[in-house]
């Protein structure tokens, strides 16, 4: 079981193999939990979102498209479960399998690609100039790949605010990058 790849494990999960699901849980729980906890101060809620995510995987393992990274797909499910839990704290709304299949590697714009390549110094410097509110929105929409609506649920702010902050953040980033390059 431990030698199998993530997508092979998903194949076994589709055949109702609990041991395979367990291996996925063992493999991915730690980093997913840490990352979820960075999105909510409530670590119980993070654990619940992770639980919902693996249950969703069990119910529709075939919604993963054979290409792409299983880890990224899992994160996409987990962060949406968290957003949905935050929206209705009492009653989680299951993420539909149709949506799960849409989660496979997100198509990013060239601008986003640039942003994702933050390990290259200049973008990092530019990011540092953004306020925490603007950064949060960028994180949710670009790194986590959430829609405006989902990001609004996750951050607990209106959709309009998400849109405007994202716009401001991106233009500020652009300005910063241009000025940095010119420099």
């Amino acid at each position: 079981m431990q030698q199998l790849s993530d997508s092979e494990l998903l194949g076994l999960v589709a055949q109702r193999d609990e041991v395979a699901l367990r291996e996925l849980v063992e493999r991915h729980s730690a980093w997913l939990l840490l990352r979820l906890r960075r999105r909510t101060p409530d670590s119980d809620l993070a654990a619940e979102a992770l639980h919902d995510a693996f249950v969703a995987v069990w119910r529709s393992p075939r919604s993963f498209r054979g290409d792409g990274d299983v880890g990224a797909w899992l994160w996409g499910i987990a962060i949406r479960q968290l957003a949905s839990r935050l929206r209705k704290r009492a009653q989680p709304v299951p993420v539909e399998s149709r949506m799960l299949s849409a989660l496979s590697p997100a198509v990013r714009s060239a601008e986003d690609e640039l942003l994702v390549a933050v390990e290259h110094g200049s973008v990092g410097d530019a990011l540092r100039c953004l306020s925490p509110e603007l950064r949060q929105v960028l994180q949710a929409t670009v790194i986590d790949g959430l829609s405006t609506r989902e990001a609004a649920h996750l951050l607990g702010i209106p959709q309009g605010t998400v849109k405007s902050r994202a716009r401001i953040a991106k233009s500020k980033l652009r300005e910063q990058l241009i000025s940095l390059e010119a420099w």
Partner: protein, 273 residues
């Protein structure tokens, strides 16, 4: 990749001490880097992962509720009764027996080419027995788990009634339909209900003494004999008269009382309640 996330970096990330840009770059780096994800394990207590797994396992192995069960829940049936009714075999067998018998009755009455008088006779002889067979088939004699169930504290009468109710919920509409679908049966379409109630209760009382198959045989043959005798005396139509109908209802009341008495004083028996 030019770099990897090691334990100290995860440490800083988990504590929120990482520089915002570094945090973003770490998160985007995680896509497609199993080694760095694995390094996160040192930051999370194994118990937390075990907890996630044990809760996931419980959720996925708890029965998923099919449509029929959710419908029952919505109608106000208690959750534990739903579990009992849904135990596949015990639900399907009585259902199949009742519906199958109802269909056979319908075919005999509708298609056998009988004269109108004989049609009434066959209708009144067979149709009231549909619920009786549903109840008898619901009883523990046909339960594959009979022996296991016998040693549980759950009331066997309650079990039989729950299953019978579930079977009747499907069988009764089917039986009703016979009266309305078969031509020229409208006058008797509801006349069978009172006799059927009486016969079903009689079967339940007999079940406290006899095995299910004996009970089914006794009630069925007794009723068919009665109807046949009425036919010989040309009295079949009397079954539909108000007096006889009320008499059946009174008998049903008496039998319910007998059932309550029997169940409260029952000693060990083949038909243990």
């Amino acid at each position: 990749m030019s770099w990897h996330v090691d334990a100290p970096v995860w440490d800083a990330y988990a504590a929120g001490r990482l520089d915002p840009a570094a945090e973003l770059s770490l998160e985007s780096h995680l896509t497609g880097c199993p080694d760095c994800r694995a390094a996160a394990r040192s930051q999370v207590a194994p118990a937390a992962v075990d907890e996630v797994w044990s809760r996931v396992r419980l959720t996925i192995s708890a029965p998923a509720h099919p449509l029929s069960q959710r419908a029952m829940r919505r109608l106000g049936v208690p959750a534990d009764d739903v579990v009992v009714v849904s135990a596949a075999d015990s639900f399907m067998v009585p259902w199949a027996v009742a519906v199958g018998f109802a269909l056979v009755s319908a075919c005999v009455v509708g298609l056998a080419g009988l004269g109108p008088a004989n049609r009434d006779v066959v209708f009144l002889a067979l149709v009231p027995l549909v619920p009786v067979l549903a109840v008898v088939a619901s009883y523990d004699a046909l339960d594959p788990l009979r022996e296991v169930v016998a040693a549980t504290p759950y009331s066997k009468l309650r079990l039989a009634l729950l299953r019978a109710t579930a079977a009747l919920a499907v069988a009764l509409p089917a039986t009703m339909a016979i009266g309305f679908v078969v031509p020229d049966m409208e006058d008797l379409a509801l006349a069978w209900l009172a006799p059927s109630l009486g016969l079903t209760l009689a079967a339940l009382v007999l079940l406290t003494w006899f095995e299910a198959w004996v009970t089914g045989g006794l009630v069925t043959s007794a009723w068919v004999t009665v109807v046949a005798l009425l036919r010989i005396g040309d009295q079949v139509d009397s079954l539909a008269t108000p007096v006889v109908q009320v008499a059946f209802l009174v008998a049903a009341g008496g039998l319910s009382l007998a059932l309550v008495l029997r169940t409260s004083t029952l000693r060990i028996q083949g038909g243990e309640l």
